[in-house]
């Protein structure tokens, strides 16, 4: 009985602890563009900065700074997809102070520079609108009644006739 009570208390303590860390994480999720330092984020969780840093890293396997940077890059990608803002405007909108630093960091996280990422996105979206069958896997298109375009049918017909066994 005492063991069960103790387990309940431990679970409640852990739950309360995680709720505080989540408060701080939510701050970074909702406002990644805000100029937040570790003290401000730790304050949101009502922890000292070092205690918060240790707990956050143990919970999410990355430091708050690494997490915040990741959130900023994701926000940048969304803005590139959904807005006509320039790369420079996006850089400042997500809290970076230098386009050069932003571009370097973006490339490190995403694998290509911001402009190239945006161009690839726009090409894909244009292709999806104008030639959806070039993007949607054929089996899905076929089972959902999407008609084949004359171009796709021609490609498929040529592929079948060229197949050798």
């Amino acid at each position: 009985m005492i063991k069960m009570e103790r387990r309940k208390q431990d679970a409640a303590t852990l739950s309360a602890l995680y709720k505080r860390i989540i408060e701080a994480k939510a701050l970074m999720d909702v406002h990644p563009e805000a100029s937040l330092d570790l003290d401000q984020i730790a304050d949101a969780a009502c922890f000292s900065r070092y205690h918060f840093l240790r707990l956050f890293k143990k919970t999410y396997h990355k430091t708050p700074h690494q997490y915040l940077t990741g959130q900023r890059i994701e926000r940048a990608k969304s803005l590139m997809a959904d807005s006509n803002l320039t790369i420079t405007d996006i850089c400042y909108a997500i809290g970076f102070e230098s386009v050069g630093s932003f571009s370097t960091l973006f490339k490190k996280h995403v694998g290509c520079p911001p402009l190239e990422f945006r161009e690839r996105l726009w090409k894909l979206n244009t292709l999806l609108k104008e030639q959806p069958l070039a993007v949607i896997p054929h089996c899905f298109a076929a089972m959902c009644g999407l008609e084949e375009s004359p171009e796709k049918k021609a490609i498929l017909d040529n592929t079948v006739s060229d197949t050798t066994y």
Partner: protein, 144 residues
């Protein structure tokens, strides 16, 4: 030669609700969103840590040229409304923290996280027909 798995199909009872769950609650990215003239919506999402795997949020549709007949679509809809289909397994760095965070966002769980020899686990539902196991894996000698 098959080189990798690229798309996972998930039938959902409602694509808008599914999109809200996977993007706004789980933090996934919306990858593609296109609606054809016949009403078919090609909607895919994915984890930012797995850029080469798309989850297709598939509606249940029947009609000319479609895979499901009217009866089959109705049967599928019943299974989804009862939440009987499994979407698979998610992995998390901390199951209990994830539980607190998603519970606060309104995600439905079946019970609370429990300890197992292989890690900490729990079960959640996406609200559109699918349940998932969520695992915080303990490092095993074979997967270190």
């Amino acid at each position: 030669m098959i080189t990798k798995f690229s798309h996972s199909t998930l039938y959902v009872s409602n694509q808008d609700k599914a999109l809200d769950f996977y993007v706004n609650k789980l933090g996934f990215q919306k990858r593609m969103d296109y609606t054809n003239e016949n009403g078919f919506r090609w909607l895919t999402v994915g984890s930012k840590d797995q850029p080469d795997i798309d989850i297709v949020l598939m509606p249940v549709m029947s009609g000319p040229g479609m895979r499901f007949s009217k009866e089959e679509a109705a049967q599928m809809q019943v299974l989804l409304e009862k939440g009987l289909l499994s979407g698979g397994v998610f992995e998390t760095s901390n199951c209990r923290a994830m539980f607190e965070e998603l519970k606060a966002k309104g995600v439905r769980f079946e019970g609370e996280p429990t300890d197992a020899p292989w890690g900490v686990q729990c079960t959640l539902t996406d609200g559109v027909g699918n349940w998932y196991s969520v695992l915080e894996p303990k490092a095993q000698t074979w997967n270190k």
